[in-house]
């Protein structure tokens, strides 16, 4: 055993960033940073809820938190319950659940394509001449349907008294078809990379807008993770998730937004 005791310097101002969501949250766990402006120490805690979809699990009739999310908040002393007033002071929540909500409207495109008005990057302007075009507004409506339960629950978090709630935009997927299909076989060869990025663009735009309407800030580091609108390979972890370098960019953005 080590008998040597090194000098220890205690952090007087600490805040925890609870990253709650699908497997993308794992890259955030244990990230630790100090904001040099305020001296505050931030540490990230990932709460991974496997195979979790708001649309399947929430209780839309009573508009309540569904049980798994509620249990996770309780276990971490973030919500009222058996722990009563012993809640963590001023937690920061980063909600990360985009994949399932992006995949739904993407698959619903089937063999069709659409045009994004004023598309900002080359991949978003491309149109497959072999496919039938459907109205842009229809894609928007389908994304809204999938987003509704997500926004409803975000709204409940906000109304529940959490001051600093952020939602993470869906990250750019791997642009290589084989790499993408190897980790998302259920999506098989049903989607094209251009369709994936185009639906993603619509999805993130609506997520950002609808979250803002309920007072929730979104973290979307898309521009810093991409080259010409496509995933920069240096942020790829395993063809499905992004690495810790990408997670650090999100957290840098989040810390910068804190008041």
């Amino acid at each position: 055993l080590s008998a040597a005791i090194s000098p220890v310097r205690w952090m007087d101002r600490t805040r925890s960033i609870y990253c709650i969501g699908d497997s993308n949250v794992i890259s955030y766990d244990r990230l630790a940073a100090r904001d040099l402006r305020s001296g505050t120490f931030y540490s990230c805690r990932s709460i991974h809820l496997r195979r979790f979809f708001y649309s399947e699990e929430m209780d839309p009739i009573h508009a309540k938190f569904h049980q798994r999310m509620w249990s996770a908040l309780e276990r971490n002393s973030l919500a009222d319950g058996p722990l009563g007033s012993k809640t963590v002071y001023d937690p920061i929540l980063l909600i990360v659940f985009s994949l399932g909500y992006w995949a739904g409207p993407l698959l619903e495109l089937h063999e069709n394509d659409f045009i994004i008005p004023e598309a900002p990057t080359p991949i978003l302007t491309s149109v497959d001449p072999e496919k039938e075009l459907i109205p842009y507004g229809l894609v928007v409506e389908r994304v809204k349907v999938h987003l509704k339960p997500y926004i409803d629950e975000l709204s409940q978090l906000r109304n529940g008294g959490f001051r600093d709630v952020f939602v993470l935009a869906m990250h750019p997927p791997h642009p290589d078809d084989d790499a993408f299909f190897s980790v998302f076989p259920a999506m098989g060869k049903k989607t094209a990379v251009t369709a994936r990025y185009k639906v993603l663009h619509v999805f993130n735009s609506l997520l950002r807008m609808q979250a803002a309407e309920i007072g929730i800030d979104s973290i979307d580091p898309f521009d810093r993770l991409t080259i010409d609108g496509v995933l920069d390979p240096k942020f790829n972890l395993d063809n499905a998730h992004l690495n810790r370098a990408a997670a650090r960019i999100s957290i840098e953005t989040l810390i910068g937004r804190l008041r």
Binding site: L1, S2, A3, A4, I5, S6, P7, V8, R9, W10, M11, T14, S16, S23, I26, S27, D29, R30, L31, A32, A33, R34, D35, L36, R37, F41, S43, R45, S46, I47, H48, A72, R75, N76, S77, P82, L83, K86, V88, Y89, L237, D238, N243, R244, R248, I251, E252, T253, L254, I255, G256, R257
Partner: protein, 209 residues
């Protein structure tokens, strides 16, 4: 103003001290300190089961961790894939996630586990401490921590129970300390920051490989 690389200092070496047990572990939640010489930052995160007794650390067979403890450990991603028989996987052994349990240099980093249990058992036993009754009460807790060590967590510690309002706490802690020591589990007899400093001084060399 957006956070920039210039305004944020990242710590590439960060070890988490995961604190489990009854509600008293919440006192550790959010504590963070920096080991100046080794340039490692430590932070504590707690998950409590209020009112938990030591006997509830093991399941009814006495041969596996209890469902409650497994749920807490899995909830903090310390363990993964809990099976019906109480077996589980370690996160860093799962290829998909192994990279995320490494520090910036790619070295593996293991969690430190700190437990606090026994306060409610001591209350149940009353003012007069009978060593045999204390042993009977806490042995499942001792076995549970021993199992965690054997399962791959080298840094497992138990904290003494709080003395406030419990006349029997001192002799209770003495028995707990002896049994944990015999099981090879580190025993921390301190509070708050002092407890964490005591723990840090006892971490094994080489745990951060």
């Amino acid at each position: 103003m957006n956070g920039t690389r210039e305004s944020i200092e990242w710590f590439s070496r960060h070890r988490v001290i995961y604190c489990f047990g009854d509600e008293n572990v919440l006192a550790f939640n959010g504590l963070a300190c920096e080991d100046v010489d080794d340039a490692i930052v430590y932070s504590c995160r707690s998950e409590a089961i209020p009112g938990l007794r030591a006997a509830a650390a093991l399941d009814e067979t006495g041969t596996a961790l209890s469902r409650g403890l497994l749920t807490s450990l899995a909830g903090q991603s310390v363990i993964q894939h809990v099976y019906p028989n109480g077996a589980f996987e370690l996160l860093w052994n799962i290829a998909q996630h192994a990279g995320n349990f490494a520090v910036g240099s790619g070295q593996q980093i293991l969690p430190v586990l700190l437990f606090h249990l026994g306060t409610h058992d001591c209350e149940d036993l009353g003012a007069t401490v009978d060593e045999a009754r204390v042993s009977e009460a806490v042995i499942p807790y001792v076995k549970a921590l021993q199992m965690l060590k054997e399962r791959g967590f080298p840094e497992v510690f138990a904290c003494s129970i709080l003395p406030q309002d419990l006349e029997a706490a001192k002799p209770f802690n003495a028995v707990l300390s002896r049994l944990m020591g015999a099981a090879g589990v580190g025993f921390i007899d301190a509070r708050g920051r002092e407890a964490i400093e005591s723990l840090l001084a006892r971490l094994q060399v080489g745990t951060v490989a």
